[in-house]
Amino acid sequence: MNDPHLLTLHVNGEEHEVVVEPRRTLADVLRHDLRLTGTHVGCEHGVCGACTVLLDDAPTRACLVFAVQAEGADVRTVESLGGEHGALSDLQQAFSDHHGLQCGFCTPGFLMLAEGVLAEQPDASREDIREALSANLCRCTGYQTIVDAVCATAQARREATA
């Protein structure tokens, strides 16, 4: 191993110690070292968004961050969303209800992107949501159903806090 680094990563509220080469991306460390395979990898150069995670609450391409750069940051992956025994979060349930996924490859990235966007802009309009979701690619759904799912979640969360 070239220049191995011992890192402490904060992922989904837990601390993990890993020894990695600096060239290992956060996406690869999550998948291969921490076995959190919910984060998917498509293009590996920032275009598709399959690898999107939250880094200190900001939606981030995990393929465009070296794991060594994520030390000290709070990382959240799709595994953090669901509850016990496979229970879905409100956003995940909305994806299911609105047919926002087919093969599901892009879904973890869209979920984490949407979580980040809704946390920052709880009042996001449909247009804002479309613009934000344009960051990620989906080869199956045609996007409208993903937009529907995120808009429905935004609406439900607004009503719940009103």
Binding site: T52, L55, A58, P59, T60, R61, C63, L64, L113, A135
Partner: protein, 295 residues
């Protein structure tokens, strides 16, 4: 699609960053700074860049000056690690609001939440919005190297084909925009929303009452580096009513003056047509809503 091996070094303060660059180079390494990594990492995964050592500026986010946005109506100073998204969401004074407005063209939110102003300028892509805006608003890049600090004006920054005046042993610490432009806009065309533009145009108008008295026209994607188009600016200096006739003349002058690259997917003729459309569009968007009849 994996980067080649490198050694990793964290810079804990500015002196450390400059020192690491110097020491690594002296030891025969080929060090490079990494800020947001949103340009460097794709280059490394494609193996277009193979630095043997990376010096991470990440820890410098704790240094307040490196992420500060100091907005004075006459000069806007951005710390080197200010992100595109921080500028997008900042309430800037009217002379610099064009910077916030233009950020929606820079990639997508996840790119904008990590990518930095200084990284964009040092990367020096000929269509990068920050590079055009640097020429539009007379940016000054403050760089610190082993010999101390120096200031590089935007018109000396871009050498073309991703080369810039920032030396490999220098760290950009601040970017100052010294020319407010309250009537300015950027317009661009990319095949997919969020991609680098094929051509982009930035325009700043000088207005006296309802009349145009001058302005700047900057283009990206028509030469190896972003360029100001003197011929188009001369038309604006010739004065006139801010309307379609004047803007068409400005756009024509710009499209005629340039000698854009001609490659099979994107011909020179196509880049000229885009230039004509985008310059006119940026001019129209630059006119304040209060000027009657312009829209």
């Amino acid at each position: 699609m994996k980067p080649a091996a490198f050694t990793y070094h964290r810079a804990h303060d500015l002196t450390d960053a400059v020192g690491l660059l110097t020491d690594l180079a002296a030891a025969g390494e080929d060090p490079k700074l990494i800020a947001g990594g949103q340009s460097l990492m794709p280059m490394m995964t494609f193996r277009l860049a193979r630095p043997s050592a990376l010096v991470d500026l990440g820890p410098l986010r704790r240094v307040p000056a490196m992420t500060a946005i100091a907005d004075d109506p006459e000069v806007l100073a951005l710390g080197a690690l200010v992100t595109h998204h921080a500028v997008e969401t900042a309430a800037l004074s009217p002379g610099f609001a064009v910077l916030s407005d233009a950020m929606r063209w820079v990639g997508h939110l996840p790119i904008r939440s990590r990518g930095t102003v200084a990284g964009s300028l040092v990367h020096g892509d000929a269509t990068a919005e920050w590079c055009l805006l640097a020429l539009l608003l007379d940016a000054v890049v403050v760089a610190e190297g082993p010999a101390g600090r120096r200031e590089i004006p935007a018109d000396e920054l871009f050498h073309g084909f991703y080369a810039t005046a920032v030396d490999p042993d220098e760290v950009v610490v601040e970017v100052r925009f010294t020319r407010p432009a309250p009537h300015a806009a950027l317009s661009e065309f990319a095949r997919r929303h969020g991609d680098f533009a094929i051509v982009d145009a930035a325009v700043a108008l000088e207005l006296d009452g309802d009349a145009v008295t001058g302005g700047r026209v900057v283009l990206g994607g028509v030469a190896p580096a972003p360029v100001r188009v003197a011929e188009a600016e001369a038309v604006l200096a010739g004065a006139g009513d801010p309307g379609d006739a004047l803007f068409a003349a400005v756009a024509d002058a710009a499209a005629t003056a340039i000698d854009p690259p001609d490659d099979p997917p994107v011909t020179a003729a196509y880049r000229r047509r885009l230039t004509r459309t985008l310059v006119a569009d940026a001019c129209r968007r630059a006119v304040p809503q209060t000027v009657g009849g312009a829209r």
